[in-house]
């Protein structure tokens, strides 16, 4: 999930979610970065409104206790 977290941090800092930035964040965290996953992430997020995607989750019903 680290790639997705990287995108979320960039979204909050207001930086562009591009390959260089995602790679830089993951590098800093000591992740052994796979270029294709970075590319795939950036491509997947291209037309996505991240705020909306995250808020949709927040509106979801509270999780049922695991079991």
């Amino acid at each position: 999930m680290e790639y997705v977290y990287a995108a979320l941090i960039l979204n909050e800092s207001g930086e562009e979610i591009n390959e260089d930035n995602v790679t830089a964040v993951l590098d800093a965290a000591g992740v052994d970065v796979e270029e294709s996953r970075v590319k795939a992430l950036v491509a997947a997020l291209e037309d996505v409104d991240i705020e909306e995607a995250v808020d949709t989750a927040a509106a979801a019903p509270a999780p049922a206790a695991g079991g």
């Binding site: 992430l41 997947a44 995607a53």
Partner: protein, 298 residues
Amino acid sequence: MSDSAAARRTDTIPEWKREEVAELVEFLERYQSVGIVDVAGIPSRQLQSMRRDLHGSAEIRMSRNTLTVRALKEVDDGLEELTDYVSGQVAFVGTNDNPFGLYKQLEASKTPAPISAGEIAPNDIVIPEGDTGVDPGPFVGELQQVGAAARIMDGSIHVTEDSKVLEAGEPVSEELEGVLSELGIEPKEVGLDLRGVFSEGVRFEPDELAIDVEEYRSDVAAAASAARNLSVNAAFPTAGTTPTLLATAAGDAKALGVFAAIEDPDVLPDLIGKADAQVRSIAAQIDDEEALPEELRG
């Protein structure tokens, strides 16, 4: 106390009264909160036991109303406002607890008591549904006469539904007194009725002192929720909320992953589940079995 006030009255008041007033004044000055309680109708033995129960947190002091009023006026300091409440059988109550606590304590010390014929019902009197345990006999008729739904069942007299037999404010009849006594119903709440309190400069009436503890309990829960929400939503970690904060962050990532169909190992199971649900949703709208995959045919 005011020496000059005391001196002024010296020649008009008998010695014993002067001493009594002085004692009352001393009582009033000893406590942060002083109230007037109604003691009417409390048997003296019960009053004794209430005094014992209050011992250590509140003190009851009785006197003649004229002297009670005189003492209040003597202390002045706002306490004279309490003279409004002095009528009938009353007493002073003094406490260093706060007036809300005093009210609570006095309410808690009230005990149920039987009501006699001729007395006015302080609240609606209800005979509850159930087995009275009384053997069949004329008591059925007595119950029915006072307005209770009663009949004989399984060898004893039953009240078949909650039956209101007297409205609040109505006098109790001889017949009703007898029925209630037979059933052991004690519809009165007997105790020290607080008429008013003067506490550190402020006068409180009983309705102001009746606090709804449940409301405070739910306020505490709401305050705790507010703090949790703020802690999590502002990402300020506290001991209690850090796990929630982590779960929220992980949930954000998962939401984004599913929303954007990100090909991440942690997201794919959800995406597969989502795809499966979509197929089922479409299949549910198709009538033609021929068009459906075998596993989805009705």
